[in-house]
Every structure is written in C-alpha cells, then in structure tokens.
C-alpha cells in the first residue's frame, strides 16, 4: 500500500504504525484524528422516540439468501411470517456480492453425493459436519431452480428477484431495522427487539419462533463488503444462552495493496455480473497460507496464479492435504472471470493482481463454520424456538476451510429452507407469549443508552482502536500464545471500560454503537478460542503449535455464557451433536 496517495492529515508512517499491533491502539489515540470523542450532542429527541410492537409466529431476522428461503418456506409450511432486516432485501449482508451458486445436478456430475461428501471431508481434515455438507448438496438444485424461476439469474441486483416470492406470498418485511436483542422471559424465547433508523423508533417483536439469518460479521475490515455485519445474531443469541462456535477459523481473503478498502475495485467487475451456477470442484482454499508467506517473507506480496507463486518458497506454514494442493491440481484457468468462477476457489479473487495485503475480511471466519451451534440437522439451536441458517449457523457445512466453490450461497439457501420449515412446525405446538412491560422498558433503556450518554466514546474511535489491536497479521492470522494474550488484554479493556461508555449522537451512530459492542465481544471470542485450540488445522494457524493434533483436537469449540456472565468454552467432538 506504499504507493497510494492520501490527502488527509494522517501520515502514512503513523498509519502503518497503527496497523502495527496492539501498540497501535495508543497510536490511534495520538493521531489527532478529529473524532470528537468527548461530548455527546444527540440530535435525536430521545423523549420523542416512539415504540412499536408487532406480533408474528415466525420472525425471520436478515434478508440475504438464508432469510429469503427461511421466510418463503416458513410461510409455505403454514406459519405467519414477518421478515426484518438491518438493510434491504437482497441488498445487504454478503449475498449481493456472491455470483456463483453451487447446484448438485445428478445428471451432470460424475461424483455421487456420497463421494462428494467424502471429498469435502478429506479436504476439511474432518472439521466439516458431513450431515450439513450432504444436506446442502441434496437440496441445492431445488433451491437453484426456484431462484431461476424468480429471475435471480437475470440481473446483478437481487432485490427484484428476491421480492417476487415475498410479494407473491404477502410476507410483510421491515427494512433498515437493526435488531439488538433476543428476548427470553421465564426461560422461554418470546421475541426480539431493535430500532428503526428511519422511523426513529424502538421496535418490539413478539414471536413464537425466531430464525437468525443475520449472516456472519467482521471488524468492519477494508476490502470486503462486510462492514454492515458484526456477528449481531451470534452475540444476541450468546447473550440469552445459546451456544456459538467457529471463532478460531479465519477467512483469508486478501485485498489489493492499492486502495485496499475499495471492495468493488478489488473484485474486478464481478459485482456487476449476473450470477451463474457452479458444479463440483472441491478445493482447500483461502485459508491463511498467504498470511504465512507475508509473515515470513514480508511485504510486498505478489499474487501469481494459484500454485505457482511464492507459496513454494517458504517452508512450513498451514498444511494443505496433498490431494487438494494447487500444485497438484491442473492449473486453473486464471483470469477467467465468468460469474461461476468468481468468489471462492480461485487462488485470487477475480481481478486481483499486483501487490496484495491481508485482512480484507478480518473478523470473519470461513462461511458456515461460525455461528450458532446446531443441535440437529434442522438448524435448531439449544434454545427452543431459536433457529439459525446460512452464515449465522455454525453448521460446519464446508468445515474450517473453503471446500466447494459456490456452496456458501447454496448452503444459505438450503439451510434457510430447512430452518423455515422446522420453525413453522415448531410454532404449531406453542402459544405466543407476551413480553412484559417491565422487560420492554428494560430493553428500551439498553437500546437507547448510547443516545442518552452525556459523555463517552464514539463508536468510530473504538472501532478503529479495536482494528489496530486485532487486525495485524501476527495477532489474527499467524497466532501465538503471547500475542493472543496481549491483544486479549486490550480487548478486555475495551469490553470492560469502553463498551459500557459507547455514545451516539443520532440513529446512524446508535447502530454503530451496537455494532461496535458486538465486535468487541466477537474479538474476545476469537482470541480466546484461538488460544484454546493448541494445534494448527485448516484456516487456524498457531506458530507455536504448527502441527495438527488428532489426539486432542478432533473437536469443535463451543462458546457460551456461564451463569456468572463470563465466557465459557467446551469441546464438541467432530461428528457429534451438541447436547
């Protein structure tokens, strides 16, 4: 990123220092950024903020690929559905940017589904949950055919095709509403709560069942279009006792050194293409190999065709199973940027040549590896009535590494459908409960707290500080005990002293404040899970434990909130269901 010019006052040097580790936190503070962090001057009239209440049977939170199918299938299974999203249907989360969707078409494939699942499991080194891998393959073609019918493949913009089935079924949808709370009363899931940035209102939802289709999240990184997602679903669910998983894995998407933050430019013209389908092509991709090369050799790092680059010049680093190493597979037709090729699988995202930098998707794990822990193949969590689908479910469909190209999108579609049906069936046997007035008042208070603070810390400043602490390669990707612990100390400081003092001047900042809090919790989860997993496997790499440890670590890590409110961890053996 040396050649990029910058007009603002921050010098490149102090800026690099900023990325330079936990010490960067101090650097941010001393940069003299005009962030106005002392006083709060709310432009919103807090006392005038209203409150709305809605009732439904199934509440679908999120309007990406998973949310779409969750709403449609829950409706078709007879439930009254309400969809709510932080953004717009088909234009929020990661879904708008994915252009290749996997469909297992038995007529076209030479591998049977059994063989396909076996190949994924071999590449994933056991980290995948074969039940979800199989489910994705089995249902993918049906979902893709429905999408085709709705016109999904006709436009690069998904709002129109997604609106078709939703409008046909008259499913109400509320957009630009940020959900901040799942509500449990008398040990029962009773609804959710959040706020609308347009109506400037707190909104309460009473529901029998909730499907979290809130996608994944990151640390608002630069170069990957994930800045609207901060693991909200995971953190909300964690707060009411759900188990979550997958925090030690890392997505290793690189970015272009020049204008690293420009997602669109980094992906060539892929964002502007129509989607297409992909067939079986199992790899072991986009883990942290490149991060390792950058760590050992330093920057700049050039991105050559996959398998031909500097990977061969370093010894050690993340283990890639022989069968799936790019050197052994036939050279992929690099530069081919047709939609089905896009996304995961190519060594480099389309259009990425020249010098590259890391951390473009910092804070996000491999799709489907992180999220709520399912207790069965129905996308159900350990909290009755609470379901999750797509990137919000830790289904380990792909494992701790990317295996099948295009399966992330179809996995979200398939799981959305499964969860929708399951939630609708669950509703048949339960009564709707009301949320008590005292609970509503308590939640309202919590939601609006940042607006009421007279002094505190701006979400933008806390976010930048957090990024300086966790995003460096030697913290997030090439891990070792002392660095993880050092970073954790900073993050705990943010958690204990800054999270309770986040302030907001308007509804936009209120959303940022809640997102920032979720990022801090996610960072704690990521660091602690990384410390716990004392081995290297797939996209989790420990410099101090570089080998796989089959004896102790044929297991996933589940995270949950203990009775005392602290973060607890447990192992769940591969190929087993959580109790």
């Amino acid at each position: 990123m040396t050649e990029s010019k910058r007009k603002n006052s921050i010098s490149r040097r102090s800026f690099i220092a900023l990325a330079g580790g936990a010490a960067g936190a101090a650097a941010v503070a001393s940069l003299g950024l005009h962030l106005d962090w002392e006083t709060n001057n709310p432009k919103v009239d807090i006392d005038a903020l209203g409150l709305d209440t809605f009732k439904t049977e199934v509440l679908v939170i999120g309007s990406g690929m998973a949310g779409l199918f969750a709403a449609v299938k829950a409706h078709d299974a007879g439930a009254k559905v309400l969809m709510v999203s932080k953004g717009r249907l088909g234009s929020s989360g990661l879904t708008p940017f994915a252009k290749g969707i996997f469909a297992y078409d038995p007529a076209k494939e030479t591998l049977s589904i059994d063989e396909f699942v076996a190949a994924v499991s071999r590449s994933a080194l056991g980290t995948n949950n074969p039940v979800y891998t199989r489910q994705m393959a089995e249902h993918s073609l049906a979902r893709v055919n429905e999408l085709k019918e709705w016109g999904f493949f006709d436009s690069t913009l998904y709002n129109k095709s997604f609106s078709k089935p939703i409008e046909e079924r008259n499913i109400p949808i509320q957009e630009r509403v940020t959900i901040t709370h799942l509500v449990k009363e008398n040990n029962k899931l009773v609804g959710a709560a959040g706020f609308s940035i347009d109506k400037e209102k707190v909104i309460i939802y009473e529901a029998k069942s909730i499907i979290l289709c809130t996608g994944s999240g990151g640390f608002k990184p630069n170069g990957f279009p994930i800045c609207d997602l901060t693991h909200d679903g995971t953190v909300m669910a964690y707060n009411i006792g759900a188990k979550v998983t997958g925090k030690e894995w890392n997505d290793g998407h690189p970015g272009k050194a020049k204008n690293a933050a420009a997602c669109y430019d980094g992906w060539g013209d892929m964002f502007e293409q129509k989607p297409g389908t992909t067939g079986i092509e199992v790899h072991h991709d986009l883990g942290v190999d490149m991060n390792y090369v950058a760590y050992t050799n330093g920057s700049p790092l050039k991105m050559g065709p996959p398998g031909s680059g500097e990977k061969t010049e370093v010894s050690g680093g993340p283990f890639v199973p022989e069968e799936f190493s790019r050197q052994n597979s036939k050279p992929p037709d690099n530069g081919d940027r047709k939609p089905p090729k896009g996304g995961h699988g190519d060594g480099a995202p389309p259009g990425m040549g020249g010098s590259i930098v890391g951390g473009s998707s910092a804070g996000m794990a491999i799709h489907k590896s992180e999220g709520l822990v399912p207790i069965n193949d129905q996308c159900e969590s350990n909290i009755p009535g609470l379901y999750a689908a797509g990137d919000a479910l830790g289904s380990y469909m792909s494992g701790g590494i990317y295996t099948q190209i295009g399966s992330s999108l179809s996995g979200s579609a398939v799981q959305g459908g499964v969860a929708g049906e399951a939630a609708a069936n669950y509703c048949k046997n339960v009564e709707i409960s009301h949320i008590s007035t005292s609970k509503i008042e308590e939640i309202q208070e919590e939601i609006l707290a940042p607006l009421k603070r007279e002094a505190g810390y701006s979400p933008a400043w806390v976010t930048q500080t957090l990024q300086g602490i966790v995003i460096p390669n030697f913290v997030l990707y090439i891990k070792k005990e002392n660095m993880l612990k050092a970073a954790l100390a900073y993050v705990e400081e943010l958690r204990d002293h800054h999270m309770p003092m986040l302030r907001a001047a308007n509804m936009h900042e209120l959303r940022l404040a809640h997102e920032t809090a979720n990022m801090i919790v996610s960072a704690e989860m990521k660091l602690k899970a990384s410390l716990m997993r004392k081995e290297s496997r797939c996209s989790h790499y420990r410099l101090d434990y570089p080998e796989m440890d089959p004896e102790n670590w044929e297991a996933w890590i589940n995270i949950f909130k203990g009775d005392d409110g602290t973060m607890q961890f447990e192992k769940q053996p591969f190929n087993s269901w959580s109790a």
Binding site: M1, R6, I10, F15, L18, A19, G24, L31, L33, G87, R88, S91, S92, G93, P96, F97, T156, L157, N159, R176, P221, N222, G223, P225, I226, C227, D228, G255, A257, N259, A260, A261, A262, C263, Y264, D265, F271, E272, N291, A294, Y295, G298, S299, L301, V357, G358, G359, S360, A362, A460, Q464, Q467, I471, P472, N473, L476, Y477, H508, R511, L512
Partner: protein, 71 residues
C-alpha cells in the same frame, strides 16, 4: 473520497435503501439523496448500481485510515 458525489438525483431513494451501511439519506428539503456518512462507505457500488439514472460517483479511495494486516 469513497462515495464522492451525487449529480442529477431524482430522489427515488433506491440508493438509500440499497446501501448496506446507511451512508446516504434523503434531504428532507431538497428531496434529493445526500451523502451523510461517507466515512462508513465500504466502496461496494451497490448504490450506484441501484440508481436508475446513474447519478452516483464513487472513488476507490477511503476517507479514513485503512487498517490492514500488513503493509
């Protein structure tokens, strides 16, 4: 920087709804889209692609420091 300017806006609000990070809002007086929070722009071009009259201009440069994993 990032999202730079809006010219020839017809106030249809497509960009406002389509922006994942709530960067753009409708100006209540002029009834036109207005760039309110450019520092939160993730340079994804969704707003531009959803705009029916191609009113939005976006630059690849970000207006606040870009933090990456190595440099």
């Amino acid at each position: 920087m990032s999202i730079v300017s809006i010219n020839g806006c017809i106030g249809c609000e497509e960009c406002i709804k389509s922006c994942p990070t709530d960067v753009i809002r409708l100006n209540r007086d002029t009834k036109k889209a207005e760039i309110l929070y450019p520092e939160d722009c993730q340079i994804c071009h969704l707003c531009r692609m959803y705009c029916p009259v191609d009113a939005i201009t976006i630059s690849p440069e970000k207006s606040i420091p870009v933090i990456v994993s190595w440099g």
